[in-house]
Symmetry: D2
Subunit: 351 residues, 4 copies
């Protein structure tokens, strides 16, 4: 019963096998390996974007911060949701990589931006001429930090707001596959056709050891990206091992299958909880994370039984009256089993 | 009728005379001038702080950003009001000088922080361990951007919250003199006795050509400050001309007299407006700025008569129905006359 | 006998009078003052550059660092002389403002770059693709830190090397007037006609209180410059006092007269020393600084008589055998008198 | 015949097996995995440093830049050899991570610092008070970029110079194992006993997929390091895969065996070349890299036969008279075979 995060999971055999297969003979370093050429082609085909440039890094924070540094100068601001990973979970990496840009935090239910709120935030910003930061970029997280997703149409609506102000749009797709599976959109529909300029295309949370692709749909700043990646210490010498993961991830739709499995597990958990009087869903379960409240006593039993997940927010206490509801985040991954889900449900039910 | 800002005013004769007097013979550069020694002594005496270190820079943004860079590391956040100058009017200078720290924006009426809101914001921050930015510092603006002031006791209450989290406290005192005059506190009571670690002590808005003192009540990081100042390009070679302004500003309480005059003018304007049915004060007038709404038609007449002030927010339009109230910011300075105030009041009244 | 630096001098009456004249009534802040419009026009005319954009800051370090940040990205390097002010005297301000660019130090006698040495340095750089910093910009100091000057033709020859690599060229003209007077070139010949893209046009060392102009001969990045200036805390609210200095400095060729006086004084000192058996010039005296060695005993007498100048390098000692030659830097300014020069010469001669 | 770099090699089976073994079940992320606890213990034991703190990152540039950012403030300089990796091969990552510190380049034969040259460089720096950058740290590369090594005694001598100025010392140990094997020193003797404060302990070049340890012998700034690592995007979520590599690398002295093999291969190649009239060694071969010159015609034959190595410097041309000697860098790794070495030698000999 491991629901702590999708980053506590192991790697599926296809990806491990690809690493093993890559481990023969010499290979050119720093992205000049033959597998990277395959990856580039595969991503271009997957996204129907023959001109896109593709770069690999090992962490989502690196992918996001480097991407934003390409889009937003130091004297500008990135419009994002208050609960975005770039705001809450990256220890000011975007500020570091941009050289001191701001994040302007936009409110919205379920960690989702609305076009109206985004427009208001952009409109309000930069009204003081040289005195305040300028409008820089928009960043959209899909799937969101609260387990919800944007449809391609919703992304388009947000990008249209950005376009009204000539702002580029970044998508934090650490859980891009989960969003895609949930919506049924194609990769192209969800990205460049919906106005996305740069995508952080996540691999790690969805099954890889540690690899994310940055996809630049407009390759104009590709060389700048390469220099920024190197300067950030994110250019791998033995790059083939990043390439191999990503190649296997993309092959035969593995990435979508892994995400589908995670989403299905979350749906099962969510539906199971929703059926209980004692439990309440806190956000719609649209991807692979379930946010729900249920009695403290059930949490105590779950933890005693070895279930792993975070009380969310984390400063709630298991001590106290048993009938008080505590809220929790439970994340499913490609390797979550129905048995795990059912076991947790049984505990919450009090079986 | 000039109420656009306190930075559109000229310099009082005492300060000009001091510049003229300083302009004889050679003087050691970079702060080693004899006048700077006087300034240091005068500020230490004024603040009853014999160990304080004192440095001069030419702009308020430099004073604030350098001060914050001393208190807040790049991976931490500065808690401040949403309307603070460091957030709204410094084009990310704090982010630049700190190396990418965040500002955490706290809400509060009349541009004032409350201890409760501050505590909630600090408590909420840094709950994710290494993943999010750490708690860095608190910055308090006195007088505030909305013309209100904190009493020394109110500053102490805010500092006490900061102290609970071991956070240092900065005061943006661009209008420190106005706050002091308004409250009757001594400089010491308003600063180190109330928990302030570093003060941006404003000179420019209150009558100087361009000089602000940074007062480090704890001199432990004085040398670091000197290096940061130099590296920021804020160390003046012909430093005597900064020193001379500040020396004259402090001499015989000139700084307090200038602020008193500005505050009195604002009070006269505020009271005059408050007496009108057609006008409404938007914030209490406690220092030298008046925020009020009155009919568009009166604004049109005022502007036609050459009155200078900003509609606030700036995106309101003078075009449209004359009876719609528009809000405005009107700032008084050391050289605002009662005649100017009365002339504006007459126009608003429709005399 | 004050030869410590040209920044220990007072301000000539024309500049002080301009400040006094500017100190009437209200003036729009932040560079929107009427005097700034005059300054802009005057500089455009002086440089025969009607499209140039002109901005004022208060220190040479700010002018240089901001200029370089416009020309050189964080992953590139600025080619400059090993003794350049940007390397030796700005506490890494260029690194700070560029966001971490390097300076590549080029050797050359008398603090002067040669086209050959510059070409070799540029050619050597950036040969490792993405692994090393890229070629960014060239910075030329005129007059140099060792009191020599480049002719316009020499500047052109350096710019031609930069042009071969598509690199922009910055001139640190903290002592631009001294170089101009020394060479007889026009401002245009020395700058844009010789391939200079951005000029730090010094006022402070040559008589102003504290003002430098940054002249962008190509205005394409003017708005970026304005944002960088603000973000660095270098935008003055009471900007008229910068404008007034610069306007007076330019009026009726004052700037050239001041520099001519300083150069003449240095020439007199240099020639007087050269005529002595016991003294040796260390660099040609082409602007307003004299570098010479003479016996320790003469230094002791000079210092005893109150002469002010720096032993150069500074770590030489006045203690020891009297006949050992020590080297010194003696800088003349607009207010250096022949009497001061002759008095120092008399001491060195041993009169 | 692959001598392009030690980063073109595959991974030895022990490390791959460790990855496979680690790939079971759930593991806590971000360094809280059980294998990391083993790694920490192993490194502490290996270095006889029970209080050391140990962190893993994936690239050498990250290890170096993060380490230096801990030791050197933005207004200071790192003393290093002109050919150091941090200068030549990291695209200003140290400048980026330190926030704009400088590197002061010290000359020395065979990419080695001498105490005398280091002392002179440190002594020369920071003589201008606040005006220039301060002395920050010393960085020593062992093995060096030219395939030479420092003995523990030589490291101590360099550290003693640093200690005279109270400067911390960093060792870039991307090829630490090669240096250790070459000198016979223990890990402790080569590091903290020789005055090293922070070590970049390389894994990647010596056989890992991509992992470097940063060893802080003084744990005082451990938390700061963790924040800097996260903010740089270098904290891995699925950290177990870094841990597993490093654990296997350390186990049963694998790291030393791999390095011994690489060094032996280089020695064989070096000796073979030295025995030829037509070849000349350019640096002593003390670790795993051979620098030698031999006739262009031999290079042409080698390249035609598929040998991979870099002409060094890279801008030499294979076109031209065949008897002209060209210089080359040939790097051996853990998987270089005697057959490969002999094949290359045969080609150079002209067999």
């Amino acid at each position: 019963m491991h629901f702590a995060s999708d980053n506590t999971s192991p790697v599926p055999p296809q990806i491990l096998d690809a690493l093993i297969a890559a481990n023969h003979g010499y290979a050119m370093p720093y992205g000049a390996d033959a597998i990277m050429a395959e990856v580039r082609t595969a991503i271009r085909e997957t996204f129907e974007a023959p001109d896109a440039e593709v770069y690999l890094v090992a962490t989502g924070t690196a992918a996001n911060a480097l991407s934003l540094s390409l889009l937003c100068p130091p004297w500008a601001t990135v419009f994002c949701h208050r609960n975005a990973h770039i705001e809450e979970d990256e220890c000011a990496a975007p500020e570091f990589y941009t050289g001191g840009a701001k994040l302007t935090l936009v409110e919205g239910a379920d960690a989702r931006l609305t076009p109206e709120a985004l427009r208001e935030a952009i409109g309000f910003a930069a009204r003081g001429g040289v005195h305040n930061v300028q409008r820089g970029a928009v960043s959209i997280t899909n799937a969101t930090e609260h387990g919800t997703v944007y449809s391609a149409a919703e992304v388009s609506a947000l990008s249209a707001v950005a376009a009204d102000y000539d702002l580029p749009v970044h998508m934090d797709g650490a859980r891009f596959a989960n969003a895609l599976v949930a919506t049924g959109a194609t990769p192209a529909e969800m990205t460049w056709k919906a106005g996305i300029d740069v995508l952080s295309f996540g691999g790690t949370k969805n099954g890889c050891m540690g690899v994310e692709a940055v996809v630049l749909f407009d390759p104009a700043h590709a060389w700048e990206f390469e220099l920024r990646r190197k300067r950030g210490g994110h250019l791998f010498s033995k790059h083939r091992y990043l390439s191999a993961q990503m190649a296997a991830y993309l092959k035969d739709g593995l990435w979508l299958k892994l995400a589908a499995r995670a989403n299905d597990a979350a749906a099962r958990l969510s539906q199971g909880l929703a059926a209980l009087d004692r439990a309440e869903l806190l956000h719609p379960t649209e991807a692979n994370a379930v946010f729900a409240a249920f009695p403290r006593e059930a949490h105590r039993r779950a933890q005693a039984a070895g279930a792993q997940y975070y009380l969310w927010p984390m400063d709630q206490s298991l001590e106290g009256p048993g009938d008080v509801p505590l809220s929790a985040r439970m994340v499913c991954s490609w390797c979550t089993t129905d048995e795990e889900v059912d076991a947790l449900l049984a505990i919450v039910r009090g079986d």
